[in-house]
Subunit: 353 residues, 4 copies
């Protein structure tokens, strides 16, 4: 019997899904042209176009989410431009300045929010204010949204569409950081097209690594004219694999048979089960609705101590909006990997107990 | 029976060595800390230090050679600095400006040569000439040498040491592009330490991808003070894998049991066998001594036509030093992968007729 | 008789002080070595060292404040580093991403404040929080303070020293944006040394353009080891004048006979006179104490209308901290050039009614 | 009586032309809008459009030639692009990597030549060769030509037009480094339009500093669509003067009354007089035809010694194309400033003996 999984620290600590590993193994046969001129990479384009109902979409596999986000942004914003995002966005807080590096020094303008979601009103106000100052301000060029958000919530389609109205009005391109896009899809229950280009997304980073792949993300352009010369950007960043088939094979296995949704469903279910348990826990409180595979919660300090004593791993977090935690409890982040089983969650709740 | 291998176009078209694939599979079990805080990555450091007899060496795995070279250079040269290299160097000719990107705009100063090797005299002359012009010139900061060279030859140890004398005198750091370092090691027959830090190399890109890995190269610093903050450089370039164990596992399998040398020996042997055959071929002529796994040769045009008709893949090349090819023959590059068998080479020679 | 000066929009709209123009004219004679090897530039170094009581100071004249600030920061912070500053800092809000450009993509981390001054506590909290996240965060490398601040106030020496304690503890270098440093000096009444390196400043941008020069600022390093290779940085940014004597001559005239203080005193006096008038004005209110040559004030909308009708120029501004303006009044910024006379201020107040 | 001018080292060692100084003085009066919204800058646009017969031309004054060249190139070439130029080009050899900095790391590809001029055949060969390698090569994006060249020669109009045919065919934008454009104009005797946009130039750096200005160059776009957002590029490089009128006033005086041509005529005449003298000198030999204000010549070593003993300043140079100097003579560069009089040249020749 598998021992209980106790790592709730991140969704990148777990193993690779067997189907993805198998696909890499099957790709490991014979000589094929390098640098993406291989059958796997070609088929990946076909599959993505079908899944997203976008016959002109262009797909560029890379190995990391930071590369996917930063390369995508570099295609949208000039060095003297600005990218708007939420103050919690991964590109702003967790990528060591990669967007600035890849864009040649563009400016990230992080909008504060209570929710981790960009509000159309704040966006319009900031962009118009900036534009009024002309050359003294970086040129407003793009919006980046994160779906699911960094607080584990999901933009509703109408929220995305309201942002799309604003960005169309403002003339901004829109990037979606989809490191946990599959988790959001499970919650939205709509088609991938509805959740992306039909809602105004121009280019997305489709994450797979956090959801069962080894190291694979896809930059997908829904407006191919934005991808002009993207291949060169990827090459000169060292993100073009010579044996590209092994990246594409991962992504194919991810999309084939809807493994991406199956994995995300499992992770989201674990999160929901955990959230339910925390709500029933004396002194436990959710900080945000749980809509993907992350739980942000207040736990009693005693529960935290018991969990740590039992070997559970997770990160202490911070209260949103500068609030103070109530006495005797502390905020934590609990991330659910796609290999978590119900008994793993129950084990956590029992240990917290 | 395996059909004959007919791809002599590159050493990145072949499959992954079984032992390397197996190592990734074995690494695929359970939760481990991400971003390199895993047992595989820790053991890799130990193994590299042992193999290179350098207890203070620091090792940073990345997925591509372009990333390894450019990141390494960015640690050696300021944005206003210059990197000297041979005119044929991969960093100068094949990386789409990646070194310029990673260094923030440093200048590559490519020295012409007849041999693909940097000469100490030319280096000293150029560096001293540049320094005399002060701030109008980029600051001479580093030398990058390629071992084996882009013409398939190998710097002798005394050649490396003569360069080391020059760079010590000039105050330049030295980078080694070791995309085919294992192939050079087989030819040199010395220890890894003798071929690197004992010969003045400060940091190297140790290639594995062209020699049997899926996507793995190691940046190895022999002077750890140069690696200060290298971890941040790698992260902000999107080259830090969250599931880093799968990069390190490849490199461990590569070094364990000397797979790197075994693979290189097989590739070099194929190259030598091919070179011998070409020398015996009427109208065939080697352009350079074959010391690694690349053959640059003149082949009769009729032979080239026959090979292409039989499905052999390889690139037409150019004559070194602006020479003209003799009438009726053309230069080609023939690269030997580490999975080539003697019969594959014989098949080629027979088809060339 | 000179007509009334009516431009309160900026301190860069006015003419060049006669003494500065005369100095350029005197420099315009005969052949002298270019690129700063001229007597004016040499004497400038001597004069700065004396004025600032810092015999090892290094001085680099440039033509604009944006260049001075960004070049200075590029010497303090690596491309993967972070610069902390107040949310109102010119480098953050008015330089079109120049610091990001010159540093190769470093991150500006703007701390919110009610006052336009960085608080040591906020700085320590942010830096320590960032460092805890390791390579995922840009490396905290420098603090930039603005003196006088963007709200027209002046850091007291003890405030600067408290920041110096924090930055020493945190290992940050400190830059001072002194676009209006002379205005602050007049208010502080201390020595230049006390206001800079004795208060922990490592490098400053000493502004002259806003205070009577044509186009001249000096980057002054109080720790010469930080200026290593700064000359190359300036050259490759196109900020090394071939006829450098004309930059140095401006700065010499600025410092000789304490013209910088005389000009600043005149501008500050105009600001104080204006502030006094506004405080007496029905419905007028100062938003900040007036300690330099900028007045931020609420004016009755009717007064604003009368001023505009009379041809007075100034910018509508915004309330600090997201406050709302009271009904019937609006915030404005009134900047006093160094050529403003008392009657110009009185004219303004009279027109405001 | 003025003492003899003895500085032949550069054309940036001399004083500012009186008319240019006077123009700055006249501009120094009253308050005018800053950052280029002033009458001088507006009139400059009109004057340039007239002089160049190009009603849609856009003009951006900056203070240095390095800034003009690098900013112009940054508008033509993406970070992953390449600029072709002659191996002697100032952008390649004398700007400390500024083009790489401003373009965000684009690659300069310097073509060797015997003449300092780019040949259309070499350009086509290199560009087509590079394009064949796809993403592994920087994208060929622009050609930069220098007029007058770095060897003091001048491209004939038909030479420029042949290059224009090549660049049109290749899809490259064309930049002209016109640091000594006025000197070339005097030799060509054609209209400015014929020497620029009618000959395929898209953007030029019009130099004034070497030809009588204090610090002023104009970036002129003949295809305004290339200048989109150029104003932001200039601002974020710190090259937008707040008191922009003083840059524009210099350039206006330079073009008004054809001062630029008068100055260049004087410098060219000095060069021609000097060249004639050298040709008559025993052991003297010109290395290139003298078509502008630079003389590259072999002088007897004894003559060089005599000149130096008399206080003449000039730089030892190098032989073109790696040739060796004949025994007893050495190559020198002699640059003629626009304030040189015939007697200054005669003094030089007499001292040389």
């Amino acid at each position: 019997m598998t021992p209980l999984r106790k790592n709730f620290g991140s969704d990148n600590v777990g193993p690779v899904s067997p189907a993805i590993f198998r696909a890499m193994e099957e790709a490991n046969s014979g000589s094929v042209p390098s640098y993406g001129n291989d059958p796997w990479t070609h088929r990946l384009e076909t599959v993505v176009r079908e899944r997203f109902e976008c016959p002109s979409a262009l797909v560029f596999p890379v190995a990391t989410g930071t590369a996917a986000n930063s390369l995508a942004l570099s295609a949208l914003v000039p060095p003297f431009g600005a990218v708007y995002c939420d103050g919690t966005a991964h590109i702003e807080t967790d990528e060591c300045g990669a967007p600035e590096f890849f864009t040649g020094g563009a400016k990230l303008l992080a909008l504060p929010s209570r929710t981790g979601k960009v509000s159309p009103e704040a966006l319009v106000r900031h962009v118009e204010g900036g534009r009024a100052l002309g050359v003294h301000k970086s040129k407003p060029a793009a919006l980046s949204v994160t779906q699911a958000t960094e607080w584990g919530t999901v933009y509703a389609l109408e929220e995305l569409r309201a942002l799309a109205d604003a960005t169309t009005h403002l003339g901004l391109a829109v990037h979606l950081d989809g490191a946990r896009f599959a988790n959001a899809m499970v919650t939205l229950g709509c088609t991938p097209a509805e959740a992306t280009w039909k809602a105004g997304i121009d280019v997305m980073s489709l994450g797979a690594t956090k959801n069962g792949a080894m190291a694979a993300e896809a930059v997908i352009f829904f407006r191919p004219e934005l991808a002009e010369e993207f291949a060169r950007r990827r090459k000169r960043a060292g993100h073009l694999w010579s044996k590209a088939r092994f990246l594409s094979a991962q992504l194919l296995a991810y999309l084939d048979d809807d493994l991406w949704l199956a994995n995300a469903r499992q992770a989201n279910a674990a999160a929901t089960r955990l959230a339910d348990g925390i709500e029933r826990m004396e002194g436990g409180r959710l900080l945000f609705p749980v809509q993907a595979n992350e739980v942000f919660a207040l736990l009693p300090d005693a529960a935290i101590a018991r969990l740590q004593a039992e070997g559970y791993l997770f990160y202490p977090w911070y209260m949103p909006n500068g609030d103070n935690a109530p006495r005797g409890a502390s905020p934590v982040r609990l991330v659910e990997s796609c290999d978590l089983e119900p008994q793993d969650v129950d084990g956590f709740l029992q240990a917290a107990g």
